[in-house]
Amino acid sequence: MTKKPHHEHTHVHSLLPSDPALRAKAIETLLVEKGLVDPEAVDALVDVFSNEIGPQNGAQVVARAWRDPDYRARLLADGTAAIAELGFSGMQGEHMVAVENSADTHNVVVCTLCSCYPWPVLGLPPVWYKSPEYRARLVREPRAVLDEFGVRLPEDIELRVWDSTAEIRYLVIPQRPAGTEAMSEAELAALVTRDSMIGTGFALSPEAG
C-alpha cells in the first residue's frame, strides 16, 4: 500500500473561507445540498442544547442526592443508572461516575486531551473548560487554577483531579451548604451551579442563592 498523501486529505479545511461564519455557512450549504445533512436536524440539535440539556439537569441530580441518602448511595455506586432515574442519559454521558466532595476531599474535573464533558447533566462545556489554559494548568497547579475561580481550599484537604478518559464522564457532588436543612429539592437545585459540579466552584449558600 502506498503511503497516503498526508496534506491532501487532512488539510482540506484550508480551502474554506477564513471568516468563521462564512466558513460554517459554506460547510452547511455543501453538506445540505449534497443530501448529507438534514438542516432541520441541525435546528433540532441547536434547540436541544440551547433549551433542554444544561446544568439545570445536573443540579436536580445533586439536590436529590443531598436530600435522599438512598439515592446518594445509588449515585455513588452506579452514576449512569442513578442519573437515568431522573431522565438524563445518553450522548457523552453513557458512563457516568459521581465523585463527592467532603470536608477532607475536593474533586475537580478536566479533559486534558480534548474537551470531554458530561452533556446529559451539564450541557455543552464553557469556553474556559475547553481552553488550553485550563487543560494545561489544572493537572500541574490545580490549587492556583482553583484560586482563579475563587475556590480556596485548606492546605490539608485532599485534592483529586479527574482527567476524563475516552469513556468516563465525571459529575462532582458539591458539599451541601449549611442552613439548607428545611429546603425542598427545587430550592436546593437552585443553589447548585455548573462550576460546583465541575469542581471549580462551591454550591451557593442560601443567602446568596
Binding site: 448529507l36 432541520e40 486534558t112 487543560r135 469513556e167
Partner: protein, 194 residues
Amino acid sequence: MDSVHDLGGVEGFGPIPIEADEPVFHATWEGRILGCRFLMGFWRLWNIDANRHSLEQLPPAEYLAMSYYEKWAAGVVNLSAEKGLITPAEVEAGHPSADAEPRTPPVDAAGVRAFLPQGRPAAREIDDAPVFAVGDKVRTARNMHTGHTRLPRYLRGRVGEIISHHGPACLPRHQFQNGGRGRPTSLHGALQRS
C-alpha cells in the same frame, strides 16, 4: 499522537479565560457546526475516536489558534473528504460538483432527538476477569504513539494505584485503527499521588 492537543502539564499558558454568564453559543454559526459534525457521524464511516483524532491532526499552530467550534469545522470537513463524502473541489466551490449523486441524510430531526438519550455506550461483553484488582500498583506505558491514544504524556511511565474497575471497553487506539472492531479489555481508573 504526540501533538499539542496533549496539553496536560504544559507550561507557559496564562490565566483561565473565565466568562461570567456565558451563553451556550457565542454565535449562530457555532450551533450549526455542532449540528453538522454531530450529524455526519450518522453516516457511520468513522467513530468518536477517529473524530477526536481528526482534531489532533490539525497543524499545531492552527490547533492552538482555533476556537473549539473552529476545530470542529475543520475536523468534519477533513474527515468527510478523507472518507469520500465530499471532495476538495467541492469544499473550495462551496457546492456539490455537477456529477454528484444526491443522497438522503441518514437521520432527521426526530431521529436525532430520539438518539440523544441513547448515545453510544462503549461497554463491551467479555468473559475475562478484570486485569487488575483495586489497590494494585501499576506503571503506565512509556511509549510514544503515532496513532490515537488516550494516555497523555504527563501520565506516561508513572506509578499509580488502581481505584476502580469499569468493565470491558475497547481501547480507543484499537477503535480508531480497526473501525471499532478492537478486542475489548478491562477499563480501570487509576490514581496517581503527587
